[in-house]
Symmetry: C2
Subunit: 96 residues, 2 copies
């Protein structure tokens, strides 16, 4: 199923910047970056739990936010895109 | 139906920062901010088209990115949240 992962990481300190990099790095392993803090991942239930656990270990639950949207298998008609396509360098210029 | 709106606005110049503020302002009229660049909107098809048109007028299609995810009416079981809840001041400290 398609799982959409969105996150906000509080980057007001260096520890936050590090968490942001680690969250992105973990998400890259599991799916496709479509926007700066938005990933689309094709996962089964078990893979999804693994990703959730990994991200929850990285983020600071008292400062950051993580959302999972379960879009299902018939997702092609459920997504519309406008503007530039994703092609982010996680280490590059910040675009949000 | 629940429509998820996510966006990336290129804020490398002042015009971009202005677009970002305008996009957020428009989204606030139509739904609930759940993360910095993520809104959940309860819209019918007509309202959704109106929002799309408004946002496409604001963004720079050659620089920014806008995605709509149609989550449907039975969305309560399709969303999971971890960490802090949303409560953003669009004019406040940037969290992404």
């Amino acid at each position: 199923m398609l799982v959409l992962v969105t996150y906000d990481v509080n980057t007001t300190d260096d520890a936050g910047k590090k968490r942001l990099r680690r969250v992105a790095k973990e998400c890259v392993k599991h799916g496709q970056r479509v926007q700066c803090s938005v990933f689309e991942c094709l996962l089964d239930a078990s893979q999804c739990k693994t990703l959730q656990a990994a991200l929850c270990r990285i983020i600071d639950l008292s400062k950051d936010s993580l959302r999972f949207y379960y879009i299902g298998n018939h997702y092609h008609t459920k997504i519309e895109h406008f503007g530039v396509k994703a092609g982010y360098d996680p280490e590059g210029t910040l675009i949000f």
